[in-house]
């Protein structure tokens, strides 16, 4: 009987994978639930003997199986790339065949290290994990001294994938060197940025890789407890980790990992806010210094790393992993970037490529342009705090320093595509409103500035404002009596953005100027 492989990732399930899996089971097939390949426009993607069909509906199941029986699917399967499909009645399953999945152009352009197992293994199978090189990094790390492990990580060039891009090896070194008998490894899995889902895919699809990375970090810095802080918006990832942690507990012992669930606060993705939340406090940002590496969770030296950073540590510590990682990438951005193509893009999903890929390659060659078929107007890279980049700048290579030089940021690697229907003033206003809603309230530029920023954008849309009653009072000698023109409101917005940028405690208030000012700079016509 045929073995049918279908993802049990949250996105596949949200697109109907469970019903499709049940239909194959009813037809007598053996159904294996695996991780997702990250080809999200094709989910639910069905794999039979390496050949893929997607997106499959329950009513396509019979057609696929009868096509297989008659032998025509393999010929149909040789075709390769097919247009993505928004389900419409009357289509038959054979049209859904994409050929050999591993040869699909979307995947063929990628170099998957962190996502090497995506689509290939059952997430909770220790046998699958071990058979695909699992635990090799931890085994090797345990045969090395902590200093050697840190040195390997430094040599690999791995930088924190949460957004800041701080060299991971240096952070580990700081924690290892910090005085203290109690140290922690904390995994930041509060993946709140819109347009990002790579952490979710690791947690749901390859949870043991994250656990292995945490255990390596624990060995390197001398920690015996670890926490994974997952956002509450990820119910599938939470359930998967709850199942995976006991399975791996004996392998990583005496290191012990506990799962903690967030409570809907975006700011808890900021590391010091996350630590406060773990301690059972309001998720308010802490002033730095002291760095969490010196005084973190409960005042103890703490490694706080993103899911992708820790999962990368697992393959980097395997034999030859650091050298391979270091050999990839560009400039000071070494290794691979798990990039997430999202929004109005024809082929959305997970794209892991060496650093250096341009937005042209990502959005057009790999992503296939917009899903709507209309021209691309903008992409936002790096989540809600990332800059909007116009097509004229799509030659920008994916590289921390290149983005910084272009007044943009890579962040967590989310690329959200917008077609020409996007209203950039509305998006700038959304950025300010988002900051206002998610501000922890600790520092004034963020808490008040974001509210004022949204008001300013409304007044800019209204063409400025008239004099208010107080300004009109005769004793207000220094107030401009005539209200404010649009140009003056724009100048005020730029001034406010500068205050938020340099005066905020953390990246929420500190980076909100990126989406706002980039929208204003590149699409001034939307603000008129």
């Amino acid at each position: 009987m045929k073995t049918v492989r279908i993802a049990d990732d949250a996105l596949a399930i949200a697109c109907g994978a469970d019903a499709v899996a049940a239909a194959f089971a009813r037809a007598g097939c053996t159904v294996e639930r695996v991780s997702s390949w990250g080809m999200h426009w094709l989910e639910p993607l069905v794999e039979i003997d390496g050949i893929g069909w997607g997106p499959v509906r329950v009513e396509d199941v019979e057609t696929i199986l009868s096509g297989l029986a008659s032998g025509s699917a393999r010929e149909a399967g040789a075709g390769g790339e097919r247009a993505p499909r928004f389900p419409s009645p009357g289509e038959v399953g054979q049209d859904l065949c994409i050929g050999r999945i591993a040869d699909h152009p979307f995947l063929a352009r990628q170099q998957r290290l962190t996502f090497a197992r995506a689509g290939r293994t059952r997430p909770l199978s220790l046998a699958d994990y071990a058979a695909t090189g699992g635990w090799a990094g931890l085994r090797r790390a345990l045969s090395l001294t902590p200093e050697q492990v840190v040195a390997e990580l430094v040599r690999s060039g791995l930088r924190g994938r949460g957004g800041a891009g701080f060299p991971a090896g240096i952070k580990w070194q700081t924690v290892a060197a910090a005085p203290g008998t109690r140290k922690y490894v904390v995994c930041n899995a509060d993946e709140g940025d819109s347009g990002t889902f790579a952490d979710r895919m690791v947690m749901e699809g390859d949870p043991f890789a994250l656990i292995e990375g945490m255990a390596i970090a624990a060995h390197a810095v001398g920690a015996d407890r670890g926490y994974i802080y997952v956002r509450s918006e990820y119910p599938h990832a939470i359930a998967r980790l709850e199942a995976a942690l006991p399975l791996a507990a004996a392998i990583v012992a005496p290191f012990a990992i506990e799962l903690r669930v967030g409570a809907g606060a975006y700011i808890c993705g900021e590391e010091t806010s996350l630590l406060n939340s773990l301690e059972g406090r309001r998720g308010e940002v802490r002033a730095k210094p002291p760095l969490p590496a010196v005084s973190g969770l409960f005042g103890c030296p703490t490694v706080v790393n993103n899911v992708l950073t820790l999962a990368a540590a697992a393959h980097i510590l395997a034999e030859g992993g650091a050298a391979l990682y270091q050999s990839l990438g560009t400039g000071r951005s070494r290794g691979t970037a798990p990039i997430q193509l999202a929004g109005n893009v024809r082929r959305g999903g997970l794209v892991e490529v060496p650093f250096g890929a341009t937005l042209d390659e990502l959005v057009h060659d790999i992503g296939g342009g917009t899903a709507s078929g209309r021209p691309v107007k903008a992409v936002q890279v790096g989540g809600p705090l990332g800059a909007y980049i116009p097509p004229g700048r799509f030659d920008l290579p994916f590289d921390y320093e290149a983005y910084a030089a272009a007044d943009a940021l890579i962040g967590h690697g989310g690329v959200v595509v917008f077609d020409e229907g996007a209203d950039m003033r509305a998006l700038a206003r959304f950025a300010m409103r988002f900051c206002a809603e998610e501000s922890c309230g600790k520092c004034t530029p963020c808490r008040i500035g974001a509210v004022r920023g949204a008001e300013l954008l409304d007044r800019i849309a209204a063409g400025g404002r008239g004099a208010d009653p107080v300004e009109a009072l005769p004793q207000m000698h220094n107030a401009p009596g005539a209200g404010r023109s649009r140009a003056e409101e724009v100048a005020l917005l730029e001034d406010l953005c500068e205050t938020m940028r340099f005066g905020s405690l953390c990246a929420l208030g500190g980076f909100t100027h990126y989406p706002v000012l980039s929208a204003l700079a590149h699409w001034p016509e939307d603000f008129a």
């Binding site: 509450s232 918006e233 669930v261 773990l278 059972g280 308010e284 999202a342 917008f418």
Partner: protein, 146 residues
């Protein structure tokens, strides 16, 4: 009242179940909310007492996080993602129909990102996620929410 006595007992059991943890407040609040539908003033006081915190400290935490509620709402909840990636895929155009379908019967709330960003617009009901919604599918989802 036997009712409130029973409530105190259930609360005490939740607190005890987490007492071995470091920083147990958030796990306790999650469980209390799951059990009672909210974390009201009485629950705050009992939790504060058990953890040797002031009620203000517990209230500060409850009021900080979007997920925690101070009063129960028996209506079914449908969370609709209205973050950038779903905006790029047209979620705002679905909002009027969704609000009309929700009316007073369903609590339609905004969530910022469910992590299904290549397949929006997306929604969540309980622990179930839904992707590639159009107006008709979203309205059906809201009408079926119970």
């Amino acid at each position: 009242m036997s009712g409130s006595g029973d409530r105190a007992g259930r609360l005490a059991r939740i607190v005890a179940a987490h007492s071995h943890r470091e920083g147990p407040l958030l796990p306790i609040l999650h469980d209390v909310q799951a059990e009672f539908g909210c974390i009201d003033a009485e629950a705050e006081a009992l939790i504060a007492e058990a953890l040797n915190l002031s009620r203000a400290e517990v209230h500060g935490v409850v009021s900080f996080y979007h997920d925690f509620r101070s009063s129960a709402d028996p209506r079914p909840e449908v969370q609709l993602c209205r973050a950038e990636a779903c905006q790029a895929r047209g979620v705002e155009a679905l909002v009027p129909a969704a609000e009309a379908a929700a009316g007073q019967r369903v609590r339609l709330t905004t969530v910022h990102c469910l992590g299904l960003c290549g397949a929006g617009p997306n929604a969540r009901v309980g622990d179930a996620l839904f992707a590639r919604l159009d107006a008709a599918a979203l309205v059906r989802l809201i009408e079926a929410a119970a």
